[in-house]
Symmetry: C2
Subunit: 342 residues, 2 copies
DNA sequence: CGGGGTGATGTTTACGTTAACATCGCGGTG
DNA sequence: CACCGCGATGTTAACGTAAACATCACCCCG
């Protein structure tokens, strides 16, 4: 039944199906695309012939004819961060739901050349639109090579004036975390920030500074990390040495994990002596020692909105240029508490 | 310079470039594909014309003509696990290096229907080969619909008799961990395993049981988790209640994290009273409290080998059917120590 | 000085699909 | 009963590219 020896080499085409079913290839096409104007008996014949020959449509030919690929490109630096992989997963799922496939373009080196190269490759790829998941200020150069006719949506950037941007409300999340710590009675809040090139990092740091300034608190020197737990650990060791430091807001959960470890090693009890808050709410955060107070990001929603915005552009429906902000929520757990009485 | 008003609607094609450059479109094609038989002056003219018009090749037409898409499909259940996202990243990077793009096909529900659906979609997609990253026993049904002419490589499965399989040497890694614990003097080792459908989980558990049996040790009842830290925590609470339990091997780092938390909450000191080992060596593992002894997996190598094996198949070069095992290494850290003296 | 090559470029055609138009047959209506 | 209209199906052409073959100019060598 599934046998059907096709001629060697060549794949089964509509013409083959048409021959076997005794119809024209246009009728096969109509069946294949679900066109209504085909009588049931004919449709059945065609479907049987398709099954017998193991026909599957050639998407290259289809794309050539239709002028669209039904594929979205995702350009990013790495899948290694929780945020990126979760966002990509959401994008892929939602795109699949809309009948689109996802092509992944990793950019190995976050240099302008790297980005340019990726965009060139994307230009040659079979892609109707591009989602850029980028944390660094590298869109300017890349912008020039953006292939015309390809739509773009950006995650985590400040390109809102040029492209639609979808992002977590970084600033509000950071504000919630810092206010939470101040609300517990801490005099001020130390901050472990991410890499300098990162927009997210910058926005979280700005919001932290702003809340402290608004409250008239002292703004301690900022500690810089690179998102990794290891870098958080190093920052944590420095902070642990400062007895006046009673509250730390880390720009992501992994650096917060490093801070927790540093505090533990230096014998500074969390949360009794020092409070620690993170950002992201990665699945493990609730299992840290102690379970981490953090800001929850809805990566799935970010992915969904990206796809939505991009498809709207592709379909030439009205799109609000500018930034869509996905709200964040503070998740209080056991790593924050009032400062020690003195 | 970059202006160049093309006719409305239609994209720039080779014919347009040819017209502007005053050559035939075949010459444009030759320049585009890097064919050597083009004189420098002509090549320059063509390149200038391309730049002026903003020409980019139509990959659909190219794929149709060449009969290959230069794209690999990756089918998986989720990107949420460290192993999967790291593997996918390595696949994407290595594939890009070989001039191939990656199309991501998430299968929402790990049912037979889900897998079948994904393969059907993949069949219609522009893909020269497929990498299946699957943890469950669902290939049998899917097998039937595997589009002919599409090559397949499988990660983390026992399908080695049917497809080439690339995987981490799960069994050896687990053996190293268990032997390490026994070597420290523990009478036996408890095990927190992953979900029942997972091959990795099964192999790690089997190796654990085998080492204990070979050493003539008692085999404690197995604790089942679902890879999450939360499930590890629940298992850890049960183990913490058993004073005879001095060594725990968790099937991944996240569950180990949960075990660490449970032990801490129950006041059982790690590693003085209880040793805990994990599997994966995720980047955070070195920052757990205490830093986790675990088995390092080389996801990058797995991804690389996958792409290599798949491309060999696609190019009809000889491939060893069967399983390629990527070695693992035990990383001793601070979560394991000799059992308490009694 | 002519024949035979060689290398650059042009022409033709086919890849598989689908839009647009053409055809055909049948039932209803004035 | 002739004509119209409509629904089902067939025919033609085009999407953009690249392989195969054709052509042409030029150079080398006998």
């Amino acid at each position: 039944m599934t046998a059907a020896a096709s001629r060697p080499g060549r794949r089964v085409s509509m013409a083959d199906v048409a021959r076997l079913a005794g119809v024209s290839s246009q009728t096969v096409s109509r069946v294949s695309t679900g066109h209504p104007a085909v009588v049931d008996s004919t449709r059945r014949q065609v479907l049987d012939a398709m099954a017998e020959l193991g026909y599957r449509p050639n998407s290259a030919a289809r794309a050539l004819k239709r002028g669209e690929f039904r594929t979205l490109g995702v350009i990013l630096f790495t899948l290694a961060t929780t945020g990126n992989s979760r966002t990509v997963e959401a994008i892929a799922t939602h795109a699949a739901h809309e009948g689109y496939a996802i092509t992944l373009i990793p950019v190995a080196v976050p240099t302008q050349d790297g980005v340019l190269g990726a965009f060139t490759r994307l230009g040659e790829l079979a892609v109707d639109g591009i989602i850029v998941i980028m944390e660094v200020h590298l869109l300017d150069a890349a912008n020039l090579t953006l292939p015309p006719g390809v739509q773009v949506v950006v995650v985590d950037s400040d390109a809102g004036d040029r492209y639609p941007v979808v992002d977590t409300d970084q600033a509000d999340g950071a504000r919630q975390a810092v206010r939470h710590l101040l609300g517990l009675g801490h005099r001020t809040v130390w901050h472990v920030t991410g890499p300098a090139e990162s927009f997210s990092s910058e926005r979280r740091a700005n919001a932290w500074r702003e809340v402290l300034a608004d409250a008239g608190r002292e703004i301690p020197p900022i500690e810089r990390g690179d998102w990794s737990a290891e870098s958080g650990y190093r920052a944590g060791l420095r902070l642990a040495g400062d007895p006046s430091c009673t509250a730390v807001f880390a720009a992501n959960d992994q650096m917060a994990l490093g801070v927790l470890r540093a505090m533990a090693e230096r014998g500074r009890k969390v949360p009794d002596e020092v409070s620690v808050a993170g950002f992201d709410d990665i699945p493990d955060a609730g299992s840290y020692l102690p379970p981490l107070t953090t800001v929850h990001q809805d990566f799935a929603e970010v992915g969904r909105r990206c796809v939505e915005a991009l498809l709207r552009q592709i379909r030439h429906e009205p799109v609000d240029a500018g930034t869509v902000l996905v709200p964040t929520t503070l998740i209080p757990r056991a790593s924050t508490a009032p400062p020690p009485a003195r």
